[in-house]
Symmetry: C2
Subunit: 215 residues, 2 copies
Amino acid sequence: MQKPMLQVALDTLDIPSALKATRALAPEVDVLEVGTILCYAEGARAVATLRALYPDHLILADLKAADAGTTVAEIVFSQGASWMTVICCAPYATMTAALAVARKYSGDVQIELYGEWTFAQAEKWLEIGLTQAIYHRGRDAELAGQKWGPADLQKIRKLADMGFAVSVTGGLTPQDLAIFKGIPVKCFIAGRSLYGADDPAQAARAFKAAIAEHW
Amino acid sequence: MQKPMLQVALDTLDIPSALKATRALAPEVDVLEVGTILCYAEGARAVATLRALYPDHLILADLKAADAGTTVAEIVFSQGASWMTVICCAPYATMTAALAVARKYSGDVQIELYGEWTFAQAEKWLEIGLTQAIYHRGRDAELAGQKWGPADLQKIRKLADMGFAVSVTGGLTPQDLAIFKGIPVKCFIAGRSLYGADDPAQAARAFKAAIAEHW
């Protein structure tokens, strides 16, 4: 089983705050995520800025795109994104269109699993060529008190068994990682628990240590 | 029945292109929409720019937000948005959070109906205080050949009967508007068919004339 990667979700309100985070964290993480908040706040220049500074990192533009797949994919891949996300309720035509652009740039598209979705839809996503999914305990769901539990693990395992490379996010701590043991997680994603830490690099190393321990 | 408003969706790749459109169209339309494409490309400064230029227009930030409702709502309402959108598959917690911020700014939140959704969900949206919905024949669905039809009209009418103020969008022409006659549409939304026209102001007036004819 491949070792999960570590991804930092940069959900800052501006580019300088994101760069303060990446200055400490880029050497420690595999994937730099331009979070949806940063996309909305600063637009695609956030992707271009990170690509200029970090030519060798995987960079994800977390657009959660729901339409206009060709255009929005072109916006972020042309600025240097490696991956982008589409929202799970997007029309299949949007996913297919985004994937075609991604492939032109040797990039990939990830499905962001939010709210209500079904495994029947997931079969269809595989059919149209999508192989990456992000299993997300949303921030608002987290604030509403929803916890990681056996139902989450069962769904993540089932997605992995179907053939998805599944990334996992939502209020994760290094202590949480043990419960995912045995599942081929693609990336563990953390945001403020990394760049909001007193020592962000040390916080990232704690995640890496937990990954090394369990995978 | 109130007369539907006309909304221009600015799905340009940069702010100057949007301003070229609004210079011609702002006097003719009621609502200026910062389209998702423009949000992704330029970020919230697109909202701030339009608000600076057009203090009296309704301005919609078409974020299609799926998470972090408080933060993303604060980003756009603090820059002068009147309305923002959330995607229909967003968690209810996200919708509730965005709506709370909107109300602080005397703004509102619209649900963008994409892909699969149910009237049971729509009941829940009303329950949590959302009263505006956007019925959307998506761009990619349109490219895939999906046409306006009786099934669309039936759903729009049912949403209106439930109490939603429904805006309608997706490849609309002035000739299409007749089929919505008798339905209390909140806004008709058009994009490139307005600002891509040889005479954008004239194109907008053709929509207004069709609205005046049928409502």
